[in-house]
Amino acid sequence: MKISYVEYQKNEAYDELLDRYTHPRAAAQALFEYLNALKPGELETRRRSVDAAIMAMGITFTVYSEAGNIDRAWPFDIIPRVMAKKEWDRIEEGLKQRLIALNLFINDLYNEQKIIKDGVFPREVLAGSHNFREQCRGITPRFGVWAHVCGTDLVRDKDGTIYVLEDNLRVPSGVSYMLENRQIMKRIFPEIFQTCSILPVDDYPTQLHDALAALSPRDGERPVVAVLTPGIYNSAYFEHSYLAQQMGAVLVEGSDLMVDSDDQVYMKTISGPRRVDVIYRRIDDDFIDPEVFRADSSLGVPGLMRAWRAGKVGIANAPGAGVADDKVVYTFVPQIIRYYLDQDAILQNVPSYLCMNETDKDYVLTHLDKLVVKPANESGGYGMIIGPRATHDERLKFAELIRANPRNYMAQPTLSISTAPTLDGDSLVPRHLDLRPFILQSSHLYATTGGLTRVAMRPGSLVVNSSQGGGSKDTWIVETEE
């Protein structure tokens, strides 16, 4: 194993594991001692056995393309991303603070809308939100919580500051890869887990189960929890099946469920209908109930909203929670935290320009070559433009889109997002990455230890989404002696 000094000299970003003299940072010290002691070629051998293991375990995701849907093996880099526990603790606190505030915000929007009346949040932003569901007005779910599972994307800038890139409050995915990555690492590098104090990640399924079970309308009985999946052709099907298996929950498709005239949800079993208490749905709002939302949806369950409104079933995340999962709403999160919690945000937002404001829009249009512009309601890296990397023509076309619908766009300066050493042949090269921790809120709060690190495998690339060729790394939160 050797570090590619050529590539590292060119690297202007902050590196997670190596300082600017390419010496390991404190948290990565033990890892590098271990790596340096390996025989030449050893790392490459282990990488190969990882690839074989991933193929055999059938850890895949589906890529949708015109040539048909392809089942691809999950690209994985065997060099972990390491973070000191001390730093992580502060991040965890910030993530929890954020989710508490967002849930208060969502509940307020669907009820009294005090934040609008008090002039902190503009009514026209709400009016333009695709994810606000009029059908959810007047409802307060259990614990006042709408987003029970949140995946928040974090990046680190050149100076070492951690920023929140976005909050995913609809159906965030990736947690199963976080869990499987750790399993693979333990299989391949058992020795290092003995010498290094790496915090475990595997209590997530239990925590998720407890968070879901707490939503059951039947207190005192063992609740029937179901994971609702769109089916095997969904790119995250692997995860749906994995989580159901880990939680001992039932994996159901829409056609397995029915809502009867008593507003109760039942699943169809070989012994007849059986009551379902909590649904962890992995289907977008639009598709969950053809009676209320898209009538052409065959993935959902007719009457599900009726059952939820009547309090006969718990649904996570609650329908309508996506209203806060909007890149324009995102820019208001620091104010939202101050308004509801009377606190300063622990985690910073990336400075943002809202195209709905005339001055911001003019700035965005004249600085397109320096900014990243994102549509408000897309996820997975679709529909955005990275100004400095786009052609002149692409920028012109995008400017038209912004002028046509300014409410739908927000822009941010291009951050120099951090890198970590990634194996390329037998040498370590810097590759850009982000971090997606998962936070749960129900009867209690919980955050994963670390999260899913996604890495852009191509040199210089900033796109980490698996649907666009990104890979992942195991994420280690380690105790350091300081």
């Binding site: 375990m57 099946s241 994996l251 056609s255 029915m258 005239s261 109760q264 169809k268």
Partner: protein, 330 residues
């Protein structure tokens, strides 16, 4: 247990059994055809008849040479009962209930699928490589069955696996026996006597029954003894009567099984009541046809009772559900 999962488990077992049977049928037939004198040889299309695929094959209007037929039986994905299709379906079905099977099961089904994807083209290089690849398929299917038998709780899901496997198995046995007996009985020429013995031997081998037959029945291979062994033996796991017995046992453990059990027992009684005195080939053929219809009836009642039942809840009104899943290839 979810109705959809029960159906998927059941079909997964049928597809796996079908893949194993198809592979064995092709390998045995190949060996027998090589053994026969030229004038006695029957065509490769006998494989299509046994598999019940002759009509479908005709629709594609292909020639009846070895290569085209093998392609259709092994790789052609337009053939829903082909080897590659069966393995793909078994894997796709397994994906939908990974959470209820032993963890290694999915990895091994997946590995069978990857193996087939890589090696199916080799079955056209030579008969030797075809033999080798198909043998691998048989091995792997058996290792999957063994894994389920040894590592899976014999719960409701397991009973649906047993049902799928037994129905598919009994169906295959009746088909092989039926076609071969038709071929054999029609040739009353005395000169063909030793040839007949060899063909009956092939029938036994196609069902992995040769050794057990010799051990439990007789060293000599005679038509009636073979038929008796494959249809009515109570201990040989591929005999039709044994399979029907297994179906009965599995059904008995399911909830609300009365109707299905009645249909299964009727089939069992019919098979147990078969008498050999004065049995003409034509009557036997009718008998086997009837057994296949019986198996179809068992499948249909299973489907109506467990997979796509009319649904009612405790105090709600009766609701008839329209199946969202199209009937899979029987």
């Amino acid at each position: 247990m979810l109705s959809r999962v029960a159906e998927n488990v059941y079909w997964m077992a049928r597809y796996l059994e079908r893949a194993e049977n198809t592979a064995r049928l092709i390998n045995t037939t190949t060996q027998v055809l090589l053994d026969l004198p030229k004038e006695a040889s029957f065509g490769w299309d006998i494989l299509l008849k046994v598999a019940g695929l002759d009509q479908l094959y005709d629709e594609f209007g292909k020639e009846t040479n070895e290569m085209s037929i093998m392609y259709f039986l092994i790789e052609d994905e337009r053939n829903p009962s082909g080897l590659v299709s069966s393995i793909n379906c078994a894997r796709e079905n397994s994906r939908t209930f990974r959470e209820i099977l032993p963890k290694e099961f999915w990895e091994r089904v997946n590995s069978l699928y990857l193996y087939m994807r890589e090696h199916a083209p080799r079955t056209f290089q030579s008969r030797a490589s075809r033999y080798e690849v198909l043998n691998q398929v048989i091995d792997r299917c058996q290792s999957l069955s063994g894994l389920l038998m040894g590592c899976m709780s014999h719960d409701l899901a397991y009973q649906f696996i047993e049902l799928g496997r037994s129905i598919e198995r009994a169906d295959m046995t009746t088909r092989i026996v039926d076609i071969n007996s038709a071929v054999l009985f029609s040739k009353q020429d005395m000169a063909l006597e030793p040839l007949q013995e060899r063909l009956w031997m092939a029938v036994l081998k196609a069902l992995s029954a040769y050794q057990m037959y010799r051990r439990h029945v007789c060293v000599h291979v005679s038509g009636q003894d073979v038929l008796n062994f494959l249809l009515q033996d109570t201990h040989f796991p591929r005999s039709v009567r044994h399979c029907l017995g297994k179906i009965d046992e599995s059904l008995a453990t399911l909830p609300h099984q009365a109707v299905t059990l009645r249909v299964a027992r009727k089939a069992w009684r019919r098979m147990a009541g078969l008498r050999w005195e004065g049995l003409t080939p034509a009557v036997l053929h009718e008998y086997l046809d009837q057994t296949q219809t019986d198996l179809g009836d068992i499948h249909r009642t299973l489907s109506n009772q467990y997979f796509h039942p009319p649904v009612s809840t405790a105090d709600g009104p009766q609701t008839t559900l329209i199946s969202s899943q199209s009937e899979q290839q029987a």
